[in-house]
């Protein structure tokens, strides 16, 4: 399946919106029914293209939020889109697109920022904002495969109501092999005294150390990814084991 997913020329195709779910004030999950979806790996993404009546086109890349094969979504796939202020594509996806609408997509794409259950070593996931989306797909794939590989998620969010997948992450964290830790940058819930960005201290306390041989996946806005990757390397992590995915 994986080979089929990667070894073919990709063209645009039309998916149908099967469901939509509000995640936060600015983000929602779109469930897509895609004819003949070849399957994907956790961490891959797809491109979405919108065409205006005058022919103007804009396309953007979005991480796939669901695992495959995960049976958590049947034959559908899920995207979670965060609305970008003044964005060309995301406001339509978050506020306008409705169940039954067609949506032009191309994917799955990207074979670097992926995790597969047969991979060696622990997995460290570090996400900022909607950078948690591909990491959630990895957590879902981990659960679906019944993997006992230790996984830790460090998830940086502004405030409690910004957390995407809150109930889902709690459920995934019930596994003995999965540790989920949220880092609040602006406002923390009651009982959580720390407010601030992921720094060297957070990395040292909550991430796997360099000796663990973990593969680390960092996804978020470009400055977030740069900062976290630098912190990891400064802490002694091998850059070859740090995989990054940036978005604007």
């Amino acid at each position: 399946m994986e080979r089929t997913a990667l070894r073919r020329r990709l063209m645009w195709q039309v998916a149908t919106v099967a469901d939509v779910r509000r995640e936060t004030d600015t983000a929602r999950t779109i469930v897509l029914d895609v004819p003949d979806w070849p399957g994907h790996l956790a961490g891959q993404h797809l491109d979405v293209r919108l065409t205006a009546e005058d022919g103007y086109r804009a396309s953007r890349s979005y991480s796939i939020a669901s695992a495959w094969p995960g049976s958590d979504t049947g034959s559908t796939i899920e995207l979670t889109v965060e609305q970008v202020p003044d964005g060309e594509v995301s406001p339509y996806l978050v506020d306008v697109l409705k169940v039954g609408d067609p949506l032009e997509i191309r994917g799955p794409v990207g074979g670097w920022f992926v995790w597969t259950p047969d991979q060696d070593g622990p997995v460290q996931l570090i996400g900022g904002g909607s950078g948690v989306v591909p990491l959630r797909a990895m957590l879902r794939a981990h659960a679906a495969a019944g993997s006992t590989t230790p996984v830790r998620l460090l998830y940086s969010v502004r405030r409690p109501e910004s957390v995407i997948y809150v109930s889902d992450l709690k459920e995934l964290a019930t596994s003995d092999d999965v540790d989920v830790r949220l880092v609040y940058t602006r406002e923390a819930p009651a009982g959580e005294p720390r407010v601030g960005r992921i720094d060297a201290d957070v990395i040292e306390r909550h991430a796997f150390g360099p000796e663990a041989g973990a593969t680390t996946y960092v996804c978020g806005p470009t400055p977030f990814v740069e900062t976290v990757a630098d912190l990891l390397v400064a802490a002694g992590h091998d850059p070859a084991h740090v995989r990054t995915e940036r978005f604007g």
């Binding site: 990667l6 070894r7 020329r9 990709l10 797809l46 990207g110 670097w112 995915e245 940036r246 978005f247």
Partner: protein, 88 residues
């Protein structure tokens, strides 16, 4: 050039997959400018330009450019000495 307006090679995966039958984000490329070899996924990709530009994350030389018109896709690979793609 702003330090925060670039993405990475993953962002070019879709456009390149219309041209190549293999996933180029996992290919190793050598920069023609500084000689650095790196996985293409780690290149800096700028999507705000007319078309898409990938630059070396070492020396910022242009590695490749992709421009799509309604009829064709133009691919300029002059900044790469080579691309290494696994056979299996």
């Amino acid at each position: 050039m702003s330090q925060a307006n670039y993405l990475d090679g993953n962002a070019a995966a879709g456009a390149l997959s219309e041209v190549f039958a293999v996933d180029l984000t996992t290919a190793v490329g050598q920069c023609n400018g500084c000689g650095q070899t790196a996985v293409f996924a780690e290149a800096r990709v700028y999507v705000d330009a007319p078309g898409m530009v990938a630059r070396c994350n070492g020396c910022e030389s242009v590695l490749l450019r992709v421009v799509t018109t309604p009829h064709d896709t133009y691919l300029d690979l002059r900044g790469l000495t080579y691309l290494r793609v696994p056979n299996s």
